[in-house]
Subunit: 501 residues, 2 copies
């Protein structure tokens, strides 16, 4: 991005960067981004640096004097870029594949320039009202009824924390908001339930809320990694008998490891009978419900008390953008609203002030990028893209199933495949062919694939087994990239075994 | 941003926006932003819309088909823009003045395009290491010692929540993380202390952590709105006697209403004696310590256990960017680290995985914009700009002090002035001249100023009195803009009184 000219920098000057300088630099940055997006493939997906390598290239002390923007941009390319792992690379298939899409990036550019804060309606009415509109659209796209009210948070971890805070607040007569939890003879230990496959953010939420890790009881799953409702019922009954106070259940639509879908209708029945708050973590799986043949993914979720869906996961919106819907906005508000005089505004009940629905007071204009994404792709454009990702995953799953040296470790309801290499010829080591050996071989295979720079995958454990986790979700990922990964796996598998022998 | 050509949109096409289409659209957006920044002054600062006015202009249902980006951008200008309050307007002086500066916007553009996640070191080494470097620079700029470790969060509300979670975790032998708070005979009620001027985020943190609103005890302040250390000592002693368990104190450097600075050295003494976690909220005031003659602002903060400083407030970085420093990273980590298999990485202790230091798992590449800002302005450029803002505020304070019809309601240590109109001729109403009348007149004066569209101020209450709150912090704000505000206040004050009579 650099050229050879030097802008003179006057350290005594005041104000912001001159708008014409901004224009020139931003055009340069745009050209860099467009070139980058056209050809992300030219970079290794995962950074090839060792710990500290980037840090050591940067001065330990801050600059005393202003530096020309072009020097800074040149350093970005020279020093920072080699240490980046390219989540926008078509070969990125680890964790959950995501996309910072073109319309999303344009939305972020405008949001950064406007720099408005959507804490109160009046601090930028459009930011609050567009959030309402865009989340109404998303709600309709995924088929939730109109009594769900949404807000945008940074991450699903925050959304789930807020949902469980609302669940705790729903124990209204206990006045937990006012009195707190400890030192009370009238308050038993609290419990929230979720399957053993639930995301770690639920553990974190339990810790933060003062419920404690023991306040989260993990329920066994069935053969397809779905929460077992009968086991849930038994656990609740047992806990009540022992004096616990159950208050919430977290069901998952698209677990992090296997993208399994908990039986939400059954769980909703239990929550209704037991008067428990039902929160659904559909951070990944919720987007699938946009596709008609995948609409089942959110079956029963109309009965949830809250549900989180992350457009920054599988809906092409740059991070961060996590949507928390709830049918009880007044309970969420009761859990969080604290309005000091300096944040009091005059509109009263005519508006919602979105600061009242979570921890964060400052709120970026995140609705803009989501609105851009939903309009640019449109419902049928979104369906086509999500469907394509599912088809690519199904195709990979088929290849795995047909290969004699690989096995699939979980069903593939969406766009994520878990597999492992299981060679018929296990080599000559003492433990060759054991589960421990397979774990080690697959960890090495993961590293070998990622070292090629042509694809990036992650891992998980499924019933204790080391699983290679392939998640398709980037708009640039095509059949060719999935095929390339499959070729790499088959090519590198035997090499890894040979090395291990 | 629109032109007359229509891009054909093929709903069956897959993939992201074509890079050349992105290039064309992004250049157009850049020109719009550059024009906007050159001339924000042409817009009314505060949006002139009534509740629902923006929403009603937007379709209630999502688009079925893709729409051309230029239509979307045209709608942004036509529909969204009129409902925005322009925080980047030189006349914006409400709450805390902030700036989405040129280098900061460029950083956000690149971050959105790269769309990396700094949850683990390995998911983008540069993002983690640049965060370490940029926060090391900021730490040095504000004069904190090298044993402070920093992470970037979205807002000070989150940073303070995380800090108090660490303070709670520091009660290690009580095993709160594991066992939770309720239903325990061994656990008394917990208490955190802060002045009555502390930000509402501390109330929220107390609620979320299960400490409860009553678990936050507010301590009286002195004539300059600073926490009274003797009163703090008495409160702690009284609480211990009554069986409470004190665990933390929040001191403030730059309170939200009056920007007062608590006597941190005295509070640090108390915390040391009482073995309490000292968290400092320097979200606004921390940046001041970059200026040599304001270095005193952080006196004693080297003894704090944690401190929050927000570059997105008074350090020219687009929201969101809140920095939490702590001298006890291992305690913060102990409060938050939950590492499931799918997030396990192989680097071990050679790296820090920043997901371990807070609630949010997903982490945007926020360090990039901060690094751009610190380099582009440099230490002396930052000093010159912060100093200018302080001088502008001092000048306004002088004008207020010299005017017979206005009074200043608080000291002005930094760039924020609280004042009210107090006309000598109070009109003829029954309550004319009373405190209630003054409150009403000043609320109307605030509304009248904001209705001009040429300036925007907010309000607070100081010792019960309605105060007009003028915060200077935008890089585009010059003496001329402050003068304009002062002229408006003096011009509109008598008009408001005349109307009220």
């Amino acid at each position: 991005m650099a050229n050879s000219s030097h802008d003179p920098v006057d350290p005594s000057s005041l104000g912001d960067m001159d708008p014409e300088e901004f224009r020139a630099m931003a055009h340069r940055v745009v050209d860099w981004i467009a070139d980058y997006l056209a050809d992300v493939d030219r970079f290794p997906v995962a950074a090839r640096v060792s710990p500290g390598a980037i840090r050591r290239q940067l001065p330990a002390s801050p600059p005393e004097h202003p530096e020309p923007m072009e020097h800074i941009l040149a350093d970005f390319e020279r020093t920072i870029l080699p240490g980046l792992t390219h989540w926008n690379h078509p070969g990125f298939m680890g964790y959950f594949g995501i996309t910072g899409s073109g319309p999303g990036i344009l939305g972020e550019m405008l949001a950064a320039a406007l720099n408005v804060n959507a804490m109160l309606w009046m601090t930028s009415p459009s930011a609050t009202e567009l959030e309402e509109v865009a989340l109404g659209w998303l709600r309709q796209l995924i088929g939730l009824p109109s009594d769900f009210f949404g807000t945008i948070n940074d991450t699903a971890s925050s959304s789930t924390l807020y949902a469980l805070a609302a669940a705790r607040e729903a124990l209204g007569s206990l006045r937990i908001r006012q009195l707190g939890l400890p030192g009370r003879a009238d308050l038993p230990r609290l419990r929230v339930y979720a399957s053993e496959e639930v995301h770690s953010s639920v553990d974190k939420a339990a810790i933060v809320l003062g419920v404690g890790q023991e306040g989260l009881r993990k329920i066994p799953t069935d053969h397809a990694f779905r929460l077992d409702p009968a086991a849930l019922s038994r656990a609740i009954a047992e806990d009540r008998e022992r004096g616990w106070l159950p208050f919430a259940v977290v069901a998952v639509v698209g677990t992090t490891s296997t993208t399994s879908v908990d039986p939400v209708p059954d769980i909703a029945d239990i929550c209704q009978d037991e008067k428990l708050w039902l929160h659904v973590d559909a951070a990944y799986g919720g987007s699938a419900a946009i596709v008609p043949e995948l609409r089942w993914a959110l079956d029963g979720c109309d009965r949830a008390d809250s549900i989180v869906v992350n457009p920054h996961k599988w809906l092409f919106t740059p991070i961060d953008c996590s949507v928390l819907y709830t049918r009880h906005p007044e309970t969420l508000r009761a859990a969080f609203s604290v309005v000091p005089e300096y944040l009091r505004s005059t509109e009263g009940d005519a508006v919602r002030n979105l600061m009242d629905y979570g921890v964060s007071l400052g709120r970026r204009f995140r609705a803009l990028k989501l609105w851009f994404v939903l309009r640019y792709f449109g419902r049928d454009g979104l369906i086509a893209r999500l469907r394509e990702h599912v088809q690519l995953a199904q195709e990979l799953a088929r290849w795995v199933d047909e290969a004699s040296d690989f096995e699939r470790l979980a069903p593939v309801p969406f766009s994520t495949v878990n597999l492992r290499y299981r060679p018929r010829q296990a080599g000559t080591g003492a433990d060759a062919g054991t589960e421990e050996w397979l774990d080690r071989i697959n960890a090495r295979l993961e590293a070998a694939v990622n070292a090629t720079g042509r694809a990036f995958i992650s891992h998980t454990r499924i019933r204790g087994r080391y699983a290679l986790h392939v998640a398709i979700g980037n708009l640039r990922t095509t059949r060719e990239h999935v095929r390339r990964l499959w070729d790499l796996l088959r090519e590198l598998g035997p090499a890894v075994v040979a090395e291990a022998s």
